[in-house]
Structures are given as C-alpha cells and as structure tokens.
C-alpha cells in the first residue's frame, strides 16, 4: 500500500504552510469577536485550519493510486505540480500519474475555491459526524457531534486523542479519522453555502416571507433548542450511550482481503 508515505508527504506539506495561512486569516479579521455568529460567515471549513480535504483515486493501466490528504487553499497553485512530481517519485509510480494527480488536486481545489467568498449560514448548528472507515486492518465506527460555529476545532487533535484513548497503534488511523471529519465538514459547509444562496433568492422572490424558517441548511443539523434547552439534560440517556460509543475492531488478513475484494 503506498498510502503511508503519501500521507507523510501530505502531512508535512500542510504543516509548513499552516503558519502562513493563519497569518492571512488573522490579518483579514482583526476583530473576530466582532463578527457575530448570527451573521453569515464567508465560506470556509469550520475548523481552526481552513484545509481542503483532497481525495485521489487514480487508475492508469490497472495500476491504482488512492490517497487522501489536506491542502491549504491559499497555497500557490504551482505547488500542486511539484507535489505531484514528488509523490510519483517517492512512490515510484509511472510518470503518467504526475499530470493525473496534479489535475485531480487542481480540480478539487478549483471546486472548493468556487465557494470561497460566498456566505454560509452556520448559526447555531451542530451536526452529527459519523465515522465508518477501515484503515488497513483497523475498522472504526463512531458518531459524535460537531459544532459548525467552532472555528477553533481541531480534527487532527481529536483523532490523536481518539487513537490514544482507544489504543490504536496503526499510525495511519489518526490522519484517516481527521480526514474523514474534514471531508464531512467540507460537504456540510458546501451545503450551507447552497442553502444560504437559496434563502437569499427566497428573500428576493417574496418579500415579507422572512418569518418562514430559513430552510434548514444541511438538513442533518440537530434541533439544538431541544438538545440544549433548559428542560433537557446534556447528559445522554443511557440507552443512547452505545450509539455514540466509538468502536474499534482489528480485522484479520482474511477479513481484509474479503472486504477489499467486495469493494473492488
């Protein structure tokens, strides 16, 4: 599996740019506290680092390359081709992959950037994140809540603690969990952009219809009022505990083979 080394590359890459990205963010918003949460925010991944999850799945002449990593959208595009070249060299892939990888990354970045600058409604939105993934021999199932307003959340840190708490030894699991979270968050963010646009159109279309509930962005958002209202306890009912309990299973080689065969 070429995954691991590719991960390494991606990881170091993102971290080197992280600081730049943060600085840009802080320059642009000198008074983050002033921007009320009720106001629409410009589109971004609702985490501390605005990183785009990139998923590669390239098949050339029967040789399949699959990888996932995050990319800083404010990086110069020239880095993409450099990264592709480096990856192909490190993983000893045929040179044909270079353009494919670069193209794939570029197109995903372009799609992400097309949403940038648009408003997204995140007001009081807590979404359930569901994990159901397999990394090599480890099978992970989990479910938890994520606050879309928390722009200081850190999926990587969460994943690290997850692995620590559950004694996961495979070093690939952590980044995979973090990526899965980011991927879902990105999807929700894109949805809320779309719904923001929709509500704007609605407002233009029929004035005075504003009392109508802003069409529930994402649809999957929880009823926060019900969950956090005065009447309900934030402690879950005991029968729900198992639902939100993280499950880690170690699979045997045969099981992995069987699963892969089914996936393919």
């Amino acid at each position: 599996m070429p995954d691991s080394s590719a991960f390494g590359v991606a990881k170091t890459h993102t971290h080197s740019i992280l600081r730049d990205q943060e600085r840009v963010y802080h320059n642009m918003k000198p008074h983050p506290a002033w921007s009320s949460l009720r106001n629409p925010v410009k589109f971004r991944i609702p985490t501390a680092d605005n990183l785009v999850p990139i998923r590669l799945d390239i098949d050339i002449d029967g040789q399949r390359f699959r990888d996932t990593f995050t990319w800083n959208p404010s990086d110069p595009d020239s880095d993409v081709i450099l990264f592709a070249k480096r990856t192909v060299k490190d993983l000893k892939l045929p040179p044909a992959f270079v353009t494919q990888i670069a193209q794939s990354i570029q197109s995903q970045l372009t799609e992400f950037r097309s949403f940038e600058g648009q408003d997204m409604y995140t007001g009081e939105k807590i979404v359930p994140i569901k994990l159901d993934l397999r990394v090599n021999h480890t099978l992970i199932k989990d479910q938890f809540l994520w606050d879309l307003n928390n722009f200081e959340s850190d999926p990587e840190e969460f994943a690290r603690i997850f692995c620590e708490d559950l004694g996961v030894e495979d070093p690939e699991v952590g980044p995979a969990i973090a990526f899965a979270i980011r991927e879902q968050l990105c999807e929700i963010a894109i949805q809320s952009v779309a719904s923001a646009r929709e509500t704007r159109i609605n407002k233009k279309g029929r004035r005075g219809a504003e009392h109508l509930p802003l069409s529930k962005p994402g649809g999957s958002a929880l009823d926060t009022l019900k969950l956090f209202g005065n009447k309900s306890s934030v402690i879950r009912k005991r029968r729900e505990w198992d639902l939100y309990e993280p499950i880690v299973d170690l699979l045997s080689n045969e099981e992995v083979d069987a699963l892969e065969a089914r996936e393919a």
Binding site: P30, L37, E124, I126, F144, L145, W146, D147, N149, N150, E152, S153, D154, E157, F158, I161, F162, E164, D165, L166, T224, L225, L227, F228, N230, K231, S233, V234, I235, R236, R238, R239, W241, D242, L243, Y244, E245, P246
Partner: protein
C-alpha cells in the same frame, strides 16, 4: 453493557443514605477552588466559550453538567484513567468543546489525578514527580484532601436546594450570562485600597508613592528590595505614612468593630488603652478618632464620664481641643450632648439637696444648652439697661453667695488631692447657678463653652475697652486682679487657670466686701463685653476650623476628579487607537475597491465597449435636430 453502567453508578444514586453523601477524594491542593455548587472564576477564565453567551448551546448550566458528569464518572473508579472517548459518548455537544472541558479538568487534577494512589509506598516529604504535577504525599490528613459533597443525582435539574442559592440560581435560571463586567471597585481598587503595584498586596503601614504622576504605589517591602518598576528610580518615590489619623485616609471599620468599640467605651470610659485592647483590631488613635466621628459617640463618652465622676472633664476639653481640629462638627454636637446629659443630672442632684450638690454636679449646671444662649444673648442686650436697676438689689444675694463661695473654697482646700482634679473653671462657676442674675449665667455659660485662654483674652479686651471710657475702673480692676493673682497662687498651683477676667468677675466679690468700690453697672458692662467677646472668639475659632475642613475636602474632591479625568483620558486614548486602526483598515479597503474599479474600467476599455457612453446621447442629438 448497560447493566454494568448501572452497577458502577449505584453509589451515587441513594442520596438519602447519608453514608454515601460524603466521600473522601484526593485532589491537588491547587484545585481547592473547586466546588460542586459553584463555578469558579478560574473555570470561567479558562473556558470562556461557556460564559460569553455566544451560543445557547454553551452556557454555564451546560458547562456545569459536563463538569459534574465527568468528575462523577471519574470518581466511580478513581484508580483507572478516564479517557475522553469514554466520556463523550454520554454527553451531548460539540466534541471539541467537550474535549476542552475534559482537558481543563485533567489539567487541574480534578480527574485522572493519581497523587494519593500509591501513598502507602511514598513517605512524607518525598516529592513525586508525576507528569506535570509535583505531588507531595504526607502522613495523616494531607492538605490536598477535601471533603466534598457528591451531587445527589446525576441530573442537575434536580440539584439540591443549596445549589439554587448563590450563584447556582443565576446559572440555572438564565441560559445566557454576560461575562462579568468590570465593576467600579475593580477599576478603582488600587485607589481605594492602596495596593502595591509590584506584589499586589495591600500596603498596611505605609507605602512609597511615585512622585512623577502619583499613580503608582509600591509597598515598603518592594521598596527595600529595590523593585521600583520600569523606568523608575529610588528618587522618584516619596514615602507616605499610612497611619489612620493621617488626614484624608480613613481606616475602614467593620460594623462588628464599631460595635465592639462602643461596648468597650461604655465599659472603660476614656481609658483608651483598655478600649484599644478590647477592640484588638484597631489602634488607640484609630479608636479615638472613630468614636469622635460617630454622630452619637460623644453621648457615649458623656455617659461614660458619669460613671467616672472624678475624671477630669477639663483636661478632656483640652484634649478635645487638640484631637478634634480635623473634625469640628462632632465637637459641637458633643458639647450639646454633654450639656443635655448633665442638665438631667443637675435636676437629679438638685433634688438630692443643696449640700450634696455642692460637689461636682453643680459644675454642670453652668453649661446650659447653647441653643438657649441665642435667645438669652438677645435678652442680654435688650435687658442691658433694664438690668441695671434690678441689679441694685443683687448685692444682698451676692453677699450670700460670697459666703457660700468661701465655704466652698474651704471645703475644697480640705478635700485636697481628690478635688485637685476638678477643673478650675468649674470651681469658678460654682456659685453662679445660685445667682439669680441671668447675665452672669450667660457669661459663665458662654465662657465655659470657649477655652479658658479665649475667655481670658476676651475679658481683658473688654476691660481695656471699658478702661478707655473711664479711667477709674482701670485702677479698680488692676487692684482686683492683683489681689486675685495672689489668691489664685495660694489656692491652687494649676497654671492653666481659667480666664483672668472671669476670675476677676467671680473672685472680685470676696474682695468686694472689703472694698465695695466697683459700681455694679460697671461690672455688668464688663461682664457683658466679656461674654460677647468670648462668644465672638469662639465663633471665629469655629469658623477657621470649618474653613480648613472645607478646604481640605475641596482639595480631596479636586484630586479625585483629576484622577478620574486621567483615567478617562487613558480610555479615550485607547479608543482613539482603535479608531485609527479601523480607519487604516477602511482606507485599505477603499484602495482595494478603487483598484478593482480601475481594473474593471480598464477591462471595459480594452474590451472596446468604450463608446457605450456616447450611445445614449445620440438620440438626444437627434431630438435636438428634430426640434
């Protein structure tokens, strides 16, 4: 799975069983602030998200539930490490915030703290390094152990009543809570309490003030250590003594202390050493000045004097004169009060019979309420002429009094030491109450109010004025005074005798029997003049004191206002800086907008649609042509 949870949680559920209500847990000493019922400032500062009201999904109630649950969960089995993943499945909410709470509790050792775990192995004074914390395990009850109540149930909705007292109610009732505003005392605390700018402790006995702006203060300890602060040197500081009688600084008295003071004053009178001992927390001068400042303090002191009859009221008067100047108003009231009390006494003692009343009590009769004296003063001037005639009858009475007086003097000489403490002034006035002459009473009354020196000066002035009118009286008075002087020196050795003039008035009478040279009207006039002069002098004195006090207060007010203004200026500067920043941002935005616009215009021009402006004008031209 489920059943096992129930088993673990069982100890918490039977809240009615008192054995389960208290259990011992070990937490680090540094986390002693923790309480089930309250949310401490440390928690509010570390987990701002739950207290800034930015979202109703994060409020103090939610935080408290998280916290209580996590800690209870850990205490189900303190020996094992509680993991975040174990906790989060049971809690509703953003995992990131949950993680933050979890890490906070772990950092403070409220969960996953294994300090006392292997206490059997580690003996006293052995410092164990565990993770980030230094843990000291001691024999016996370690200081880190605290008895804390376990919440009766896991549902904070049904929290015990005690929770809804205090802060708990605030958190429970309202979803949103604004962050605590900085109060007046926060901002001005340094001014109020004189807190050292370095070590932030209260400066008890004295402090050094930074002379350049007077804003910073350091305590003696810091001064000695040489920690003067940034850009400041030893020469910039000026020592300020903080002893409580130091002018504008008033020691803070609690109600309990004041009560104690009053009690001990009642018990011990003006034995201030004993009083101060009783009050304990305050020094002798503090006690004295406090009592004087109390509106009714003098009344207390007066009644205390009643008990200690033989105390020297005159010396008290003098002391009063020395101690009081900073607070003149109470002094006046004090006089009134004493007079009232003493008038009552007078009534009593008079009932007891004349013989008894010859003792100290009659002295009080002379001090009638001043409120009267206004009227009587009027009378005095009105009656001036009238008095002359009736007063001709007086001599007989006076002669009576004279004999009384002589008796008294003899008595007094016999009494010797005991009466030595009696104020001379009151000696002088003893016969007066028996004199029906109201004028004399007025004089003694007024002269008793003012100090002896003042009365003396006034009398002298009055006599010289009279002497200017007439040459003869001078001789009369001179001869009298000579005689008086002799008398005085033989009578007692006390140097601070009451007004000579007064003396001459009173003591003249014995001599009168021999000489009977002084015409009564003349004496009347002298007396009146003395009284008026004394009253005027006293009024002047009071006015001066009042002036000084007003001056002092005004200066305090001005100082305070200046400081206030300084603070405001600082705030304004800050605001200005913020505004400037914003302005810069705005100009930047403007520039970018202009640039963008330029770009657009350029593109438009490049695109060759530059003539679009002309087009709409063409029809107009045509129209004009048509017209």
């Amino acid at each position: 799975m489920e059943s096992s949870h129930h088993q673990i949680l069982k100890p918490f559920l039977p809240a009615d069983d008192h054995r389960f209500e208290f259990e011992l847990y070990t937490i680090p000493g540094s986390s002693g602030w923790f309480s089930w019922d309250n949310i401490h400032e440390i928690e509010k500062a570390s987990l701002k998200e739950f207290f800034d009201g930015t979202s109703f999904t994060r409020n103090p109630r939610v935080y408290k539930e998280y916290r209580d649950f996590i800690i209870s969960k850990y205490r189900e089995d303190p020996s094992r490490r509680l993991t975040f993943s174990e906790v989060r499945r049971s809690l509703v909410g953003d995992v990131n915030y949950l993680l933050k709470v979890f890490l906070f509790l772990e950092k403070w050792g409220l969960i996953n703290y294994f300090g006392g775990e292997d206490g059997d192995l580690v003996r006293e004074d052995e410092v164990v390094e565990e993770g980030r914390w230094k843990v000291k395990v001691e024999d016996g009850p370690p200081h880190g152990v605290r008895v804390v109540a376990i919440p009766n149930s896991l549902k904070p909705v049904a929290l015990p009543a005690s929770v809804t007292s205090d802060n708990g109610s605030r958190f429970a009732d309202s979803d949103f809570k604004m962050p605590p505003l900085s109060s007046h005392s926060d901002v001005y605390q340094e001014l109020i309490e004189l807190v050292c700018g370095n070590c932030k402790e209260r400066c008890e006995s004295g402090h050094y003030e930074y002379t350049k702006d007077g804003s910073s203060i350091i305590c003696i300890k810091c001064f000695k250590n040489g920690t003067y602060g940034k850009n400041k040197s030893i020469d910039d500081y000026k020592f300020v003594d903080d002893t409580p009688d130091n002018g504008n600084r008033v020691a803070v008295w609690t109600e309990a202390e004041t009560l104690l003071l009053l009690e001990s004053v009642l018990k011990h009178g003006d034995d201030w050493d004993l009083v101060a001992q009783n009050v304990q927390t305050k020094s002798k001068p503090e006690c004295i000045s406090k009592l004087i400042q109390l509106p009714f303090g003098q009344l207390m002191l007066g009644s205390a004097y009643d008990r200690c009859r033989y105390r020297d009221t005159n010396s008290n008067n003098q002391k009063r004169g020395q101690v009081d100047p900073p607070v003149p108003p109470p002094q006046e009231t004090k006089d009134f009060r004493i007079q009232h009390v003493e008038l009552e006494n007078e009534a009593q003692t008079q009932q007891n019979g004349d013989a008894d009343s010859e003792g100290p009590p009659p002295k009080r009769i002379c001090i009638a309420p001043i409120s009267d004296s206004n009227n009587s003063k009027m009378e005095q001037t009105d009656n001036k002429e009238e008095q002359v005639a009736p007063s001709l009858v007086v001599p007989e009475e006076i002669s009576e009094n004279r004999s009384q007086l002589c008796e008294l003097k003899n008595q007094k000489q016999k009494d010797g030491d005991l009466d030595d403490h009696c104020p001379p002034k009151t000696d002088r006035s003893k016969p007066v109450p028996n004199v029906s002459n109201s004028l004399m009473r007025q004089v003694t009354r007024i002269s008793a109010v003012v100090g002896p020196q003042v009365a003396a000066a006034a009398a002298e002035a009055a006599i010289t004025a009279l002497c200017d009118e007439n040459q003869i009286p001078k001789e009369i008075f001179d001869s009298e005074e000579n005689g008086n002087e002799l008398q005085l020196s033989t009578q007692t050795n006390e140097p601070d005798r009451i007004a000579q003039g007064n003396d001459s008035e009173m003591d003249a009478r014995p001599n009168e029997s021999e000489k009977s040279l002084i015409p009564l009207p003349l004496r009347m006039r002298a007396t009146t003049a003395t009284a008026l002069g004394a009253a005027a002098a006293h009024a002047k004195l009071l006015a001066i004191q009042e002036d000084r006090e007003v001056e002092r207060l005004v200066s305090i007010v001005i100082n305070t206002q200046l400081k206030k203004l300084q603070y405001k200026m600082e705030l304004l500067k800050e605001v200005e800086a913020i505004m400037e920043k914003e302005l810069i941002e705005m100009t930047e935005v403007e520039e970018s907008v202009v640039a963008e616009r330029l770009e657009v215009v350029e593109k438009v021009i490049d695109g060759g649609i530059s003539r679009w402006r002309v087009k709409p004008s063409q029809p107009q031209v045509e129209e004009i042509n048509i017209l």
